[in-house]
Each structure stands twice: as C-alpha cells, then as structure tokens.
Symmetry: C2
Subunit: 476 residues, 2 copies
C-alpha cells in the first residue's frame, strides 16, 4: 500500500513513513522518548561520521561528559537556565533513598562542560580548546511531542570552544558554519543561515546563528545552531588563562549543535509516496540486487548475482543481495523502495543472455540496461548523480516557497494560503514581532548570515523606517 503524497498531506505521510521505513517507533511507554530504528539510526551514524570528518580536520576532539548536572550548576547561570526550567527531568531518588541535592538530566551541557574547562585551561597554550560530545539530551516538553521534530529524549552533537579573544571566537563561528554546510550539503539538505533577532537569541549568548530548512508542508525546521557566547559563561564558570602578555583573562566562547532533527529533514525533503530516498553517501545499503528467477534458470541467475555482489563490494560499494525465498520480486522492490535504497539492480535470465543488468533509480524511477562491464562505473556515476538530483529538488522546494512580502497583507495572504517563507522588512521592535506572531503564527527567523541583503522599505507591520531585511515563517 503506497503512502500519502508528502506534499498533499505531509502530516499523515510523516507519521506513516517513520514506522514503515524503519526510522522511528513511537509505541513506547513514555511519550516523546521513542525508539530510533535501524534505518533512522544509520542516518544518524552517517551524520556523526561526517561531523567527525570535519571535526578531525579542524582540531576538534571528542569527549563524553556526565548526564547529571547538580541543581546548583544550573542556578549559577540563571538567565541561561530559566528557559529550560519547566522541561528539566530531575533525579531525586536512588533506590529507596532520597537525594540531598537533586540532579538534573542534561537539557544541554554548557554548565557541566565549562566546570571542567575551568580546570583544564591555564595558559594561552591551552587555547583554542575545541571539544565535541555526542550524547542523549533530555527535555521533557510538556506540550505536544513529534518524533524527531520534538522529542523528550534525543541524540545530538554539541561542540563547545574557548578562545583567547573575540576575534578568534568569530573565526570559530565561521568555521562552524563551514562544517555544518559540509554536513548539510552531503545530506542534500537545502537551508538558509540566519542571525536570530535578539529576542530569539540563546540565553547567555551574544548572538545566535541558526540553520533553517523548509519541510514540504511549508513550515520551517531549525536544524542546527551556532552561538557566540562572548564571555558570559566564562565569567560565571571562571574560565581564565594566562595570556602571552602576562595578564590573566577570561576566555571567549562559542558553541554549536545539531541533533537527530536533521534525520527528519532528510526524510521529509527527499521522501515520496513510495517511502524514503536516501542520499547515497548516507545509505548503509547503496545498491540492492534482486534476482528475477524462473525455474529453469534459477541457479545461473543466483550465481550471477553473487558474482555481481562481490564485484560491487570489492569496489567499495555497500551492496546487499536479496535472495529471500517466499517473497516475490515485486514485494522486494516495494520494501527496498520504502527503505530508501538509492539504486536497485535486477538480474533475470534475459539479462544473462544479453550480458547486462537492469538498473532502477529510486529518485527518478528510471529503468535502463547497463552492460556487465560497466556496472561498477555506472553505480559510481549514479551515486553522484542521485545526490545532485536530491539537492536540486530540495533547493527547488525552498526557492518555490520564498515570497517577497512588501506589505503586512502580503504576509497574511501567504500564511493563509500556501505557507512558506516571507522575505520583507522589519523595524526590529519586539512589539511588531509579537503582534505578527499572534496574528499570523509567523516568527521572525532573522537576517541572512550567508548572504548580504539590504532592506528596501518600511517595517511591514508598523511601517516605520530604519529596517532590516528579515524572513517570516511558521516553524516547528
């Protein structure tokens, strides 16, 4: 049974595809704490491995910090902590014994990491310090949860860096943007980079940069953030160093993170009514081989498929041959399509005779014969080609849903019809932002950080001059 079309009923499509494509199972005892199934987990493993590649080349190191954060730590950075308070899960009891000081499960790790950094950093020779951790995060959102989009437990990468001065911290912000661009590009995710307005800045940060993608339902999904923390945490956690000039100074800090939310973007941007379509680099199975057997030729076909499997494997391609009996080829096709395997190769008796095989692309559905001698090179070519097509499609989704909103009416019209992203002018006042959100559900995503844009008119709400060019959209 095919799925919904994600563009016509995204919400229904999304709930269905998660289980059927082996991504997430929500039938757990605690709402919002779901099982990340093998096909979803492998995407996360791919993201981690891509991040590690960039981290390694830019001098980041991985470590693991405790999940437990004493209440007192969170209170120390009161402003930072405030937003997390209602969502914090507290351990108050061990066995049958009540704890004297209750322990928070990390909603984020600034406090525990910076407590350690203060002990590690003594001199300018210890800087920059760049540490990443992959871990589970607990945010007991009491509102509606949605798998991968809003979970109470999820996985993420959080990198936290320390620097000798503001200029070096700024360079790090740029480096994080490059790293995230590398990851999003590899995943064929279209996105825009914003500097969030002050009212939407991470508590304790000088400013926040965020990466927004657009799901097919026209709603924005934030898929990563980078914060310039300045010295606000180093003041509180006393992270000091002896500089070259002999003076003791506070470090400048940045942090950036990306979570399993990114899996949702991969699924939603590339999927269709047959299931997932995985970017080849992130598919643990890149090619599935399906033998098309008839009584007389079974053995010869099986042998050829085994030969082909070995040939592809030796060429470093991740391949699986589906020899299961009691399943028809058609049933197998549907299953592998649902799971998102980018390329299928069918081998039947006719193909043996013609010394060729049949390729079927998951992204376009195209079928074509490929000569036996050209299979490996064609697979390698298609790995790149499929990635290109996915990225183009994702970019198109984004481009088609950006509208210039010259007036507040334009924005209201956009929000009432298609939903999407409105580009227009804003005076910068919280009052206008609040009114716009109340009246249209659209939030201000901020000014573009990846390209230069200049305002070209008065605020769409209050019509005052002195504006900035920003983007309006409803978000997850």
């Amino acid at each position: 049974m095919p799925l919904e079309n994600p563009k016509s009923d995204f919400s229904k499509w999304y709930s269905e595809v998660l289980l059927r494509a082996n991504v997430v199972d929500v039938r757990t005892p605690v709402k919002g704490a779901n099982v990340l199934l093998p096909n979803g987990y492998q995407i996360w493993e791919g993201i981690k491995s891509k991040l590690n590649y960039f981290f390694y080349n830019t001098g980041h190191q991985n470590a693991y910090f405790p999940i437990f954060i004493p209440e007192e730590f969170l209170e120390r950075e009161a402003e930072h902590f405030e937003g997390f308070v209602p969502e914090v899960a507290w351990v108050t009891q061990v066995g049958t014994t009540k704890l004297k000081q209750k322990l928070a499960l990390r909603p984020t790790s600034e406090t525990i990491m910076y407590h350690m950094y203060a002990q590690w950093i003594n001199s300018h020779a210890d800087l920059p310090l760049k540490v990443n951790q992959f871990c589970n995060i607990i945010r007991m959102d009491t509102g509606e949860t949605r798998p991968l989009l809003r979970d109470r437990e999820f996985q993420w990468s959080e990198a936290h860096t320390c620097h000798v001065d503001a200029s070096d911290a700024s360079k790090q912000i740029k480096e994080s943007m490059d790293i995230y661009q590398g990851v999003f590009d590899a995943l064929a995710i279209s996105y825009m980079t914003f500097r969030r307005p002050p009212h939407d800045t991470f508590a304790g940060a000088d400013y926040s940069i965020a990466y927004d993608t657009l799901l097919p339902d026209g709603r924005i999904l934030q898929i990563g953030t980078t914060h310039n923390l300045g010295q606000s945490f180093s003041k509180v956690f006393d992270i000091k160093f002896l500089d070259k000039d002999g003076e003791t100074k506070l470090v400048y800090q940045t942090c950036y993170g990306m979570s399993t939310r990114v899996i949702a973007a991969v699924i939603a941007l590339h999927g269709d009514d047959q299931g997932l379509i995985l970017p080849p680099e992130f598919a643990s199975t890149q090619v599935v081989l399906v033998p098309i057997t008839f009584k007389k030729s079974t053995e010869a076909v099986i042998d050829r498929v085994k030969e082909l499997e070995k040939e592809l494997m030796d060429a470093g391609i991740r391949v699986k041959a589906d020899f299961r009996e009691n399943y028809t080829p058609g049933w197998k096709f549907s299953e592998w399509e649902m799971l998102g395997v980018p390329l299928r190769i069918e081998v039947g008796p006719k193909d043996l005779k013609n010394k060729s095989v049949l390729f079927v692309r998951r992204d376009t559905g195209e079928k074509f014969s490929v000569k036996d001698s050209e299979v490996v090179s064609k697979v390698n070519e298609l790995k790149k080609e499929i990635h290109k097509v996915l990225l183009e499609r994702a970019n198109n989704i984004l481009d088609e849903l950006i509208f210039d909103v010259k007036t507040y009416d334009d924005l209201k019209k956009m929000m009432n019809t298609s939903r999407g992203i409105g580009r227009g002018n804003w005076c910068g006042s919280l009052n206008c932002a609040t009114k716009i959100k109340e009246e249209t559900k659209a939030t201000i995503r901020g000014t573009r950080e990846d390209i230069d844009e200049t305002p070209d008119g008065p605020c769409i709400y209050c019509e005052k001059k002195g504006t900035q060019m920003v983007y309006f959209a409803q978000s997850y």
Copy 2:
C-alpha cells in the same frame, strides 16, 4: 615526572595515568559520573567500530531505545529487577511537577527492548532478530566507585537477540563469543571465558558466560558477558511468533554486552611507567613525527617532516607532525609516550644527510634508523609487530598468575602472596563458595567455556568428590 610502575603499585599508577594520559577526569560534581577524555574516548570509538564491523557481518542492526523505563516494567520481571533496585536512579519530577509514575534510568535495557520486540515479532520470518544498542547506562552504586571499573554512568554496547528455538539461541551464544574474541584479540587483551556458577548467573538467564581478564595487581576484571535467557523474558513480555508448523510459540533469547570497562583493561594490560601503550589499530594517532631542529637546518627539516607526513597519510597511516614551538623535543617525546602513540619518528639534520629517519617504538623503547624509501613499509610492519608484542605480554601476565591449587591451603597461600587465579576443584555447593569468599576474598569464576577441562580431585574446601574444575580469584 614518570609514573609509578604499574606492577609495583597498580592502584596509584592507575589513578595517575587516567588524567595524565587524557583518559578520564574524575573532578566532576557527581561521584562516579566522570568525563571520558579524548584519549579514552577514542579507544571506545575504536571498540564500537570493531563491534560494528562484526555486527554488520553477522546480521546485527543498531537501534536506540529510550533511557526511561517505567517502574511497572521493572516490576514485571521481579527476579531480574531485584539486583538492580538499590542502584536505580529515579526521575520523580519534571520542572516543578511531581510525576504520577516515576521513571527509572536504564540500569540495563531488557525490559524496554523486549516490550518493543513483542510488537515487532509476528512470524518465524521475523527471526532471528539481532539488535544492538550503544548507550549510557546508569547504576548508582552506593559503594566505592572507580573510574572505568565501577562507574555510576558508563557507556556500553548491549545486543539482544530472539530465535525460533533453543538450538538457534545456542548458536547465537557461540557467535557472540566469536565476536568478542575478535574485539579482544584486536585490543591485544588476554582473557579467559567462563560459564559462571548458578549463584553468579544473570537474574533471569538460564546460564551466563563471562569474559575475565587479569589486571597487573592480580585482580580479575570481567570485561563482557553473554547470557542465554531461554524463554524467561519472552514469557513475561509475551514475545510470540507464528512458526512454520502453524503453532504460536515463545521466542528464545540471548543478550551480550561490553562496556567502557574494556578501556581499563587496555590501559592496565599495556601501560607502563611512561604512560599508555595503545594497540596501533586503536590509536587515533599511530605515528608522531618530531622534527629535531637546529638553527641552520630548521627549514629543511620541517619540509622533510611535512613531506613524510603526507607520504604516511597517503598510505592510510594516522599520523601527526608535532611542529609546536617553545617545546623541546624531549618534552614532546614524553607527552606522546604518555598518550600511548605506538611509534615515534624523529627527523634531524643528520637524518636528512643520511636519507633516513629515526624510529622509536613505544612498546620496547627500541631506536633504529630506517631508510627514507622504507618508511611506509616499516610502519606497516611495526603496526603488526607491536600488536603481537602487546598480546604476548598480556598473555604472559595471565599465564604467570594462574596457579594450580590442589588444596585450600594452596589457595590461601596464593591469595596471601601474589594474588592471581587459582585453578582447582569445587563441589558446586553455594556453601563452599560462600565460605571461600568470606575467608579469602576469592570468588568462583566458573568453568572454562573456551577449553575443555576435567576435575582431578575433591573439592578444595569440603573435600567431597563429584567436582568441576573451576577458577578462584578476587575480582573488581
């Protein structure tokens, strides 16, 4: 400043090496919940990657299950749960709101995983099911904690499998033993495989197999376990399938796990008074290049080191060139030795003239010239050779500390002097086991599962006949 010799004061050596070799930092706010530092984390990453290699080739899949386990789940398997009760961390509060049903943080994941398995398994075609999860585990041991050896939060791999019958489950037990052997061999860890006596079997299991290594202080460290769960959990969690014969049956189950404890074994078995010695496969830096520069020749030496770095990198060797200024070569040597980098290559002006470089092995301290043209092949040769030496040494530690104990006096003597492992006869009674432990601290590790051994005398304690050949030792 060198460390202690691990053989003369293991305890002191161990506490010191953890921080100085960048493995663990215990200066955290919650006792037993430590920071796994980059040099320790990379070993764990290596272990995960090795496990994944074997898991992939044997049809295991990775997934991630929630950390939260409702109280009711744990109560369902009362026998299983009992041992964990005093160590369970309970979340009782979210924000300022008390929870109606408190949530345990997983001390192990049988209950939550099997709740899902019951929903996933319908027919024999769904079996075998082999799922692994890498996750953090919470056991709030109220006694003494010791980094990596006894932590309140640690990382592990837990694989849980379901099978159509007891025979297939038995095969799985064997497969898990092969997988773990592959991992331990790669880590150059010496160990023995035991079937634990009934009184030391995992609660809910038919029998437990465990992998024991011996630390240089003569105490046993359990570094992994495999349990044959039979049908006890499938009964409780109702994991049924429709078999080929049309009957509905309960699955047979196994599970096996290995944790960050293994890092402790790697460190303790291979380390010395200069720090760690990493098996080359698990070193994120396998070769460090140190330029030995003098004013006149600095540039030429630096150029040669850069060239060498590229050459080694292109050959797939993980290499780092240490160009730091303001550090003497000697200081650098000590640092890289402490971190356990298996091979150092020094390049000075003389070497340039001789078209050679100086190799220094971390495992033996040997120094020798290698011709420029032979550097890559020599590094590849030494990667294998160093692994071999580490494994031999570890095997020697184990062999030297196994003693035949013919009588109870032999055991007492052994425990009083060197500590180690006593091999002798036991009647199988819990009473004798308890007395032996009370009087000597030695526990019964069980019968060998990896080799066949037959008893050759009466029980060393009660002197009754009808014995089994077992091993006695004090454990962590």
